[in-house]
């Protein structure tokens, strides 16, 4: 079963002081991940960005696995980022597309129990965005990020659905598409009212929304 999971963190909405406090970040990152920061990222990335980068990856993993195992418990410190590779260039100019330009994304390998997943993340001025996939190849993953004018939950929900459907309509031009939820509350894509096997993940935080979905070809 293929799945997808994404998450977005609006950097203007995070509490930098709190994020740097040990009692806060230790509920998100493990000791090994703190060591990863100290050894690999302390000179290139503010610590608060590292913490929220890992949060966005871990939340994406949770969303990915929740579709396969509904009822799974989100346990951030048990989702372990084993490898994280920084991009050569962090200048972001594209906010929607298929696959990723490896030169501008953080690439990660993530472990949760018996699962190994792969991540791609973008750190921009105002947001951190992550997507995970079951293989280290994102050619079949489509994604998008958009700022919105409201942080009201219903508005976020409506906007991200419209945003994702616009992209999906380019793939399924003759179908009437809708995004619904299954009995577990997980987003599903409906084509002419019938669920189709295109896993979709929606995210919103403050004034940003994002989606990802995976196609079989």
């Amino acid at each position: 079963m293929i799945s997808t999971g994404n998450d977005i963190v609006a950097l203007k909405a995070i509490n930098i002081t709190r994020t740097k406090q040990q009692n806060f970040y230790s509920k998100i990152i493990s000791d090994s991940e703190k060591s990863l920061y100290d050894q690999q990222f302390s000179e290139s990335l503010p610590f608060e960005h590292f913490v929220w980068l890992l949060w966005s990856i871990k939340e994406s993993v949770y969303k990915y696995l929740q579709r396969i195992t509904p009822g799974i418990v989100f346990s951030p410190t048990r989702v372990i980022i084993n490898q994280l590779e920084a991009p050569a260039n962090n200048t972001i100019s594209v906010f929607e597309g298929r696959d990723f330009n490896d030169k501008i994304v953080y690439k990660g390998v993530v472990e949760f129990g018996a699962h190994i997943l792969y991540s791609r993340s973008i750190i921009a001025e105002d947001f951190i965005f992550s997507v995970v996939n079951h293989m280290d190849n994102f050619e079949r993953v489509l994604w998008g990020i958009r700022p919105i004018d409201s942080d009201e939950p219903d508005r976020q929900s409506e906007t991200v659905r419209t945003f994702a459907i616009t992209m999906l309509n380019s793939l399924f031009p003759d179908a009437e598409l809708q995004i619904g939820k299954n009995i577990h509350g997980i987003p599903v894509l409906l084509k002419n009212g019938i669920e189709i096997p295109v896993p979709i993940s929606l995210a919103h935080h403050d004034h940003y929304v994002a989606y990802s979905f995976a196609v079989s070809a």
Binding site: D7, F24, W52, W55, V73, S75, E152, P153, G185
Partner: protein, 84 residues
């Protein structure tokens, strides 16, 4: 502290992270923090940290993972208060 008193304090902890004030006033054990109160998942750690400060307790990882609805929050908080 009775469960009702703990619940009233919990409402104050949750209040800054939800705009759904009407539902917050009437929360019960089944109220889901994300689905019903529309709390962003990015704020769940804030709620745990604020609860630790409010009740002067320490919430370990396993307990924190359970805190997805009001009932489980109250169970964890009550357990930690009783362990003091």
């Amino acid at each position: 502290m009775t469960r009702e008193e703990t619940l009233n304090e919990l409402k104050k902890v949750i209040a800054p992270y939800t705009i759904n004030k009407e539902m917050l006033a009437g929360i019960n054990d089944q109220t889901d923090l994300i689905r019903d109160l529309k709390i962003n998942s990015a704020n769940l750690v804030d709620i745990i940290i604020d609860a630790e400060a409010k009740y002067d307790i320490e919430i370990d990882y396993d307990s924190a993972d359970k805190m997805t609805n009001v009932g489980s929050c109250l169970d964890v908080i009550t357990e930690k208060i009783n362990q003091k």
